[in-house]
Amino acid sequence: MSIIRKLLLTGAGIAIAGGAALWFLSAPQTLDGAALAALGPGDAGRGEQVFWASGCASCHAAPGATGDDRLSLAGGVRLETPFGTFVAPNISQHPRDGIGGWSAQNLANAMMRGVSPDGSHYYPAFPYTSYVRMEPSDIADLHAFMTTLPQVEGAAAGHELAFPFNMRRGLGLWKRLYLDGAPAVALDNPSDQIARGQYLVEGPGHCGECHTPRNAIGGTDTAQWLAGAAAAEGTGNVPNITTGEGGIGDWSEADIVALLESGFTPDFDSVGGAMASVVRNMAELPQSDREAVAAYLKAIPGHPNGY
């Protein structure tokens, strides 16, 4: 056997062993029993607040929907990214086209582990990398609320992704790197208000998904948390919302609260793009929650523009 052949064979052997390890490492992980037990029974009234705080309607209701149309979760919003176009699915209560038959456990595994009921990986265009920080009981409440929403017929179109991004299995490795649920910033002894703000921003509010820069394979860079980023979809930049250079250091907490409630910035420009829908969600929350978000944004480290 020539040395070349030997080398090739060992190489192939390593590749096969490596492949098996990769296959194993990329296996979908679901929630453990303790997390599932923490789901609890679920309260639809509280779930409505969770629904608005977590912005499901921004992607799963019709684009630009207002009023009650935001509760019609037929999907269809197209998210154009460098990896291809993702189309948000129907998550209405329709038993065939939506998620009518789902249990709270199914929803928790989807939102906190990015795993579907049949055990495949979801793409992180569904922002479970933020939702993983949510309290399981909030997800149970959200599930209870969602069961009160209408059934809408019609499946949304499929994603338009090129190889290798159309291979869901590979996402397992990506998730090992970026799905950890650790806080994005470490805060020393935060007040109750700041801790609430941290929960809302880093968890359900998923503000970091748009406002934090990403690396080449799409992981958010927590060292530049909320420092602003090139927009994942379309063109332009998402602004820096830290107190650093280029950010919102000169905004008062009241200015931030006013923006989240009305969409107006301190110079009475009105935010548009993807933020318009975020404002419609945040406007549904109690004033104390908007104040908590503002207090948190003022408490975290400032960074210069991340784009």
Binding site: S262, F268, S270, G272, G273, A276, S277, V279
Partner: protein, 143 residues
């Protein structure tokens, strides 16, 4: 050759005459809206006292401003899609939709002037729909 150069100059003056710089003009139009909202919004939010005359004056100016921007061919002509602008390409792709959004803003502002609100509740009732136009249009047609 000389004639051609002259013709070019004349042509650019003609174009310039039509509108010096539509991108600058439309930004100026928008900035004026911001300035008027600075007067109108704090009253609606209860941070400034309601005064019927002040409010009506600002609403009239906003109405004139909105009316001016319904001429979308003057402010968003073909060829001004790129440059120092945050206008979305959708303005040119969906001309009818953008015209309708501009007309709706003008109609809502005109209705507010027409209503000439005399107390804070009447004012809030007409101001809400006016202000909603800003975010809705920026959501769809601004980058």
């Amino acid at each position: 050759m000389k004639l051609f150069a002259l013709a070019t100059v004349a042509f650019s003056i003609m174009v310039a005459g039509a509108s010096a710089d539509p991108i600058a003009d439309r930004k100026e139009n928008m900035k004026e809206r911001g300035a008027l909202m600075r007067i109108l919004a704090p009253v609606a939010q209860g941070q400034q006292p309601f005064d019927a005359a002040t409010v009506l004056d600002a609403l009239e100016k906003l109405s004139a401003n909105a009316e001016a921007a319904t001429d979308i061919d003057a402010l968003w002509p073909a060829g001004t899609e790129s440059g120092d602008t945050k206008s979305s390409p959708r303005i040119w792709e969906d001309r009818a939709g953008y015209q309708a959004a501009s007309d709706k803003f003008a109609a809502d502002t005109a209705a507010a002037v027409e209503a000439a609100p005399q107390d804070i509740d009447a004012y809030r009732a007409v101001f809400g729909p006016v202000a909603a136009n800003c975010g809705t249009c920026h959501e769809g047609y601004r980058l």
